[in-house]
């Protein structure tokens, strides 16, 4: 018997068929496993693996409270309760439980939402606390789910609202430090990519698991002192009640470091309830984003320029006639009658515009505010004291203001005569306060800062105190002389308001406001800037009072706010009297 396959035999045909089938299998497997390899690997991974975001915690914001730190902004986990109306069975029980437990967090007409046809997701209540959510979870209602969210809370309420800013519904910081440091505060979410079981629990099996740890946001400690901030807000509120002003602002800085101890405005808002604000202008921090004509507070800078360049001495005299002509304009004093041959020190005490226009003239040829005089004033105002330019403070929406340079067509003699008493230029309160700090501290300019340090795993890490940005803005003798003039002017003009044994000096400002392109006679802004301390200045305070269609005066409306805060600061900082 011949066992060999015969040509055309059935066995041979079967072998050929099997071979073809095997070849088809091999070809198909080659296609699936080699050519479509990446596609199927990806498909398998998408079915077997899940990606989880590990949310980073937003950094906390702290304030100082003496030597301690206290939280101003924190994070709280809150819960949203939602229902799947198609699987809800115990409607009455759910309604009763939500009313009893969720209280004010339930949505209006939430009962009706349980009956919405063809809907699988209806939000019944929002912002429930963990305790409330736990009580509801215990009921184990079918068709009811919980979603965790992180919410920013501000335990001090309205305190430092405009300094802090807020975190909006998308979790993005807006305004204030929340806006400026948003990237640092929000941190970076982590990622977990892993094979999961049916309950979506990540397992360690699998070769392609990825775990990128989260990076929590930085915990920032502000230079703001909670107690000083509270005192300033209290003083501003009292001033608003007393004067009827709609806008009142104040800032306190340490002239030895540039640290901002308090910064407040009225009207204000609570950052935790930012959504209740109807006028978005309230979000702006007027101290840094509302440049204005600072008025007579600038006279201290003009006198400093005159003394520092040896153009004048405070004891030098000029003939005051209550008005002075500059080109085609006549500039008058607000206070009349202190006429005759008087000193510049007297001009400071009575805030006489004519005296400061005269100083500007003496910076030139003594008769006119020449180009050279204007260049000198510009150098002192803009380049040395940095008025009209952002300070670089770590808060969002800082405005620049403007100082018109003599090289510009509008930088003429009339403008610079106005600038000598703080009109015709724009600066923010913080710029003026920072420049004034340099003027009274001996001539060292410190960049205003609001960040004192960070809280890390190792505890509080204070930022090293920065060296002054520039030393020798004015000679120490000029600084001493200006301090003496301002202290004497305050003692003579407002005797008995300050605690005895301390050097308290300052300058009032009453500036006209431009309304419809012209200076209004029915609207003014009152300011006061001053310093306090025993032998050396320990604090600089600037306040501003304004309101639409209202006339305010520096001495009457702004100075009492300074006095109130200053006398309190002496006790708070435990400053011992001189001698």
């Amino acid at each position: 018997m011949n066992l060999e396959l015969q040509k055309g035999s059935r066995s041979r045909i079967l072998a050929a068929v099997i071979l073809i089938i095997v070849a088809i299998f091999v070809a198909r497997l080659f296609y699936l496993q080699v050519i479509r390899h990446d596609y199927y690997v990806e498909l398998a991974a998408s079915e077997q693996q899940s990606r989880f975001t590990i949310p980073a915690s937003r950094g906390l914001i702290y304030a100082k409270s003496g030597e301690n730190t206290v939280p101003l902004a924190m994070n709280q986990t809150v819960y949203t309760v939602f229902a799947d109306p198609q699987t809800v069975t115990e409607k009455e029980e759910i309604t009763t439980a939500l009313r009893d437990i969720a209280g004010g967090n339930i949505r209006k007409d939430f009962e009706k939402l349980l009956d919405v046809p063809d809907s699988r997701y209806q939000i019944l209540a929002t912002k429930l606390t963990r305790v409330q959510a736990d009580k509801l979870k215990e009921k184990n209602f079918s068709g009811i789910g919980f979603q965790e969210n992180s919410q920013r809370v501000y335990p001090e309420g309205n305190l430092a609202g405009q300094v802090l800013g807020f975190v909006n519904a998308e979790g993005v910081g807006s305004y204030g430090i929340e806006g400026y440091l948003n990237e640092d505060l929000e941190g970076q979410d982590g990622l977990l990519q892993a094979v999961t079981d049916v309950g979506n629990v990540p397992l360690t099996i699998g070769n392609n698991n990825v775990r990128i740890p989260k990076q929590d946001g930085k915990n920032v400690v502000l230079t703001i002192d909670r107690n000083v901030q509270s005192k300033v807000e209290e003083a501003l509120k009292a001033a608003a009640d007393r004067t009827g002003a709609t806008n009142v602002s104040g800032v306190v800085i340490d002239p030895k470091t540039g640290k901002v101890l308090a910064m407040a405005n009225l009207p204000s808002y609570s950052p935790g309830e930012y959504f209740k604000v109807s006028n978005v202008g309230v979000f702006n921090n007027n101290v840094i984003s509302g440049p204005y004509e600072p008025g007579s507070t600038i006279k201290a800078f003009t006198m400093a320029a005159g003394i520092d360049t040896n153009a004048i001495r405070a004891s030098d005299r000029f003939n005051n006639t209550d008005s002075i002509r500059v080109q085609d304009r006549v500039i008058s004093n607000a206070t009349k009658g202190i006429t005759g041959n008087i000193t510049f020190e007297t001009a400071m005490q009575w805030s006489l515009n004519t005296g400061f226009v005269t100083i500007a003239q003496r910076l030139g040829d003594g008769e006119q505010i020449t180009r050279e005089a204007r260049e000198t004033m510009y150098e002192y105002f803009a380049e040395r004291f940095r008025l009209g330019q952002p300070t670089g403070i770590e808060l969002s929406s800082e405005a620049a203001g403007s100082i018109v340079a003599p090289s510009q067509p509008t930088g003429n003699e009339v403008r610079y005569s106005n600038m000598s008493f703080g009109q015709g230029m724009e600066a923010t309160m913080l710029q003026v306060a920072a420049g004034f700090g340099a003027l009274v501290n001996g001539g060292s300019f410190y960049k205003p800062t609001i960040i004192d340090g960070f809280i890390t795993e190792n505890g509080f890490e204070q930022i090293e105190e920065a060296d002054p940005v520039e030393k020798g803005l004015v000679k120490p003798s000029t600084s001493n002389e200006i301090r003496r003039v301002l202290t004497e002017a305050r003692r003579a003009g407002f005797p008995g308001v300050d605690r005895s044994g301390y050097n308290i000096g300052g300058k009032t400002g009453t500036s006209q406001v431009i309304v419809d392109g012209e200076y209004s006679s029915t609207q003014t802004t009152a300011s006061y800037i001053g310093y306090g301390g025993a032998d050396t200045p320990e604090y600089v305070i600037m306040v501003q009072v304004s309101g639409k269609d209202k006339v305010f005066q520096g001495a009457r409306d702004a100075l009492p706010i300074f006095t109130d805060i200053s006398n309190w600061m002496i006790d708070y900082l435990k400053i011992q009297p001189k001698g």
Partner: protein
């Protein structure tokens, strides 16, 4: 004709080896055929598979334990954060100012410094 004797050196160690050398060869009476071999190999593979499965299951068990501990940590952190917020609210300046103790306090008439 002279007689020459060759001496070959044999180490003691070599002698010892020789001493322990088996002189009898034992042959097993059990014969394993190809089927038995296949079954044994299959059994070995099964045992190895079971060992692998046991280890993998044990690792997965740790995953569940780890998940449970992580949830517990998260819950405790949440509780801690809630307590910190409550503490901050209770020690907030506004709360302190409105407290009964603060309302009873009066401002000093004067302050002085001790030398």
């Amino acid at each position: 004709m002279s007689y020459q004797q060759n001496n070959y050196y044999t180490s003691r160690r070599q002698q010892n080896w020789s001493r322990n050398q088996n002189t009898t060869r034992y042959v097993s009476a059990i014969k394993l055929g190809p089927v038995a071999h296949t079954v044994l190999i299959a059994l070995m593979i099964t045992v190895l598979g079971l060992i692998y499965l046991t280890q993998a299951t044990r690792a997965t068990g740790y995953d569940y334990e780890s998940q449970r501990i992580n949830s517990q940590i998260a819950e405790l952190n949440e509780e801690k954060a809630d307590l910190q917020i409550e503490n901050a609210r209770l020690t907030a300046l506004e709360t302190i100012k409105n407290s009964a103790v603060a309302r009873e306090m009066t401002a000093p008439a004067s302050t002085a410094f001790v030398e």
